[in-house]
Subunit: 330 residues, 2 copies
């Protein structure tokens, strides 16, 4: 199968949708003008870091490649519209691998009404690399950034945290719908998706907003997978062993601060839940009127004093470092 045969196969598989005026097959795609701001995000995933084969199927790898970008659009409270997919495909895996990868990706795109508008298909003798750029527009009046948190804001998180290595990092549902519901209900001040880890991404939000925070250790919603992982059940489980970003030394946080699964949930990456802040009045409104079904949890509060603190059940506060994943270049 040649590059152009693969592109033809993808073209036939893609459902054309607005705002696309011209899609796959020219030197660039053409999208209709819009009176809304344009959201653009891009994420690159790599075999060996974001997934491994054969532990993961190419369908799930394709799904994840798109899903991480949808999660970034959700973090801006955006509606996704068009995706551009560039791949370096491992030659040795052949055409069925390429088709399965795009199948998984396009199934999720269809689910979220996203059109595959273009891309670049390459092959080489190295592991799979996929780079996706996703366009969208704000669901509400404006995009929600990381930088709008105010002292006194309540800090919320969607869903449950930790243990994503057991499967969630491949099968998670990007929180597009939850973000849309949130901005319809309340004035979201700041938002980020948890990709590097709760503690790390909270630090990103605090840094961008130039504020601090106190998090209640016993309020952190721990996933069943996190508990399973920490209690060692994983060794006996049928869960696939996947290579995913390891958190940087959760041991650095004094164990006095929480049970091991709390520390894990604080530092584990790839939850792809939304972390956001709203004023106290909106926090009450959410707690009364949030329709679900995705759980919302209030974790703590934004402070004017810079710094990030984890408060134990005994009331004692301990500094919370930005535990989580980051790439190192040297």
């Amino acid at each position: 199968m040649s590059e152009f045969e693969l592109i033809d196969w993808i073209r036939r598989r893609v459902v054309d949708r607005p705002p696309l005026l011209l899609g796959i097959g020219d030197d660039a795609a053409v999208l209709a003008p819009s009176d809304k701001p344009l959201l653009v995000t891009t994420d690159l995933v790599m075999e060996g870091t974001d997934f491994t084969f054969p532990q993961t199927t190419p369908q799930l790898a394709g799904r994840k490649s798109l899903a991480v970008n949808l999660s970034d659009i959700a973090a801006m409270a955006g509606i996704p519209t068009a995706a551009f997919v560039s791949v370096a495909l491992p030659q040795a895996r052949g055409e069925s691998f390429a088709e399965a990868f795009f199948d998984g990706l396009l199934d999720l795109a269809d689910e979220f009404g996203v059109v595959l508008a273009g891309g670049d298909t390459n092959a080489w003798d190295k592991p799979l690399v996929a780079s996706i750029t996703m366009l969208g527009y704000p669901a509400g009046k404006k995009a929600i950034t990381r930088s709008g948190a105010k002292p006194g804001d309540k800090i919320f998180v969607t869903g449950e945290l930790g243990g994503s290595i057991l499967g969630h990092h491949l099968t998670f549902t990007p929180r597009i719908e939850e973000a849309r519901q949130l901005v319809n209900l309340v004035d979201v001040h700041a938002m980020i998706d948890i990709s590097d880890g709760l503690a790390a991404d909270l630090h990103h939000l605090l840094g961008a907003s130039n504020v601090g925070a106190v998090i209640q250790a016993d309020r952190i919603p721990i996933s069943a997978a996190a508990q399973q992982l920490v209690s060692g059940e994983r060794e006996n489980s049928k869960a696939p062993r996947l290579t995913v970003p390891e958190s940087t030394a959760s041991e650095r946080l004094p164990s006095a601060l929480g049970a091991p699964h709390v520390l894990h949930a604080l530092s584990d990456g790839e939850d792809f839940e939304l972390l956001f802040t709203v004023c106290a009045a909106d926090a009450e409104k959410l707690q009364r009127h949030w329709p679900g079904p995705t759980k919302l949890t209030c974790l703590g509060e934004i402070t004017s004093e810079i710094g990030c603190w984890l408060q134990g059940a005994d009331g004692a506060k301990h500094p919370l470092p930005p535990l989580g994943w980051q790439h190192r270049f040297s």
Copy 2:
């Protein structure tokens, strides 16, 4: 150096420009609404295929990564605005490599008034992969596609072809300004940039337009580098040995059809010149009023009969196959 330190370094290096409302550092970039159509193109380049080290510097690799995308925007007769850069950086090459790569890329971005609006920085123990998505808008009333060629149109090419391996594929100037001048002067019917090879990209244009063409072999503008390459001078030259896409068997074309350097120019990729068609009246206008300095050459004519023909000096026509580069997946 960590991922976030590199991002900070890039942020300080980037010049913010319209239409950017929010750039590097959040979950997505935010661009101002526009009443013009949006052009989006994406290209992925790989160490070992698009360049090799140390034969190429990281600056030139960064430059090329951006330039190939600018060439796609030029092919739509577009003005580039914002770029998104995702990289998988080879860990072992360290931070100076990463900085040099972005330096080369950002110098070219500045030259073309393009803002680096976002991206994704990753590191791994494999060769460099860079995926760039470029946004823009049509310079004229509309984007020029591959599909508008009409029987009787004259076929033109900018610049000279062949021999890009000797350096041009790294140092070429994307034809943004030439495309802008063209759509200001005449009604360009169809356009493509030559990345896979003149013959291959002509076939793309003909297929999209559902027409045929006759090309005059003796009109093909041959670069000095192509002549040098074919006459074997390269062996003695100081030109860097670079691994670039090899054309697929130019030997397949009967040598009777042209001198070796003509066959080379027909099939060699990475010229990044513009191939376009205009009506006969506009062709005359271009030949009289084209201001230069980039050379324009009329190569032949579009026919209603499907097929692509190369006509020799003796008047004999031979079928011209889509010689050029394509990736194979199996």
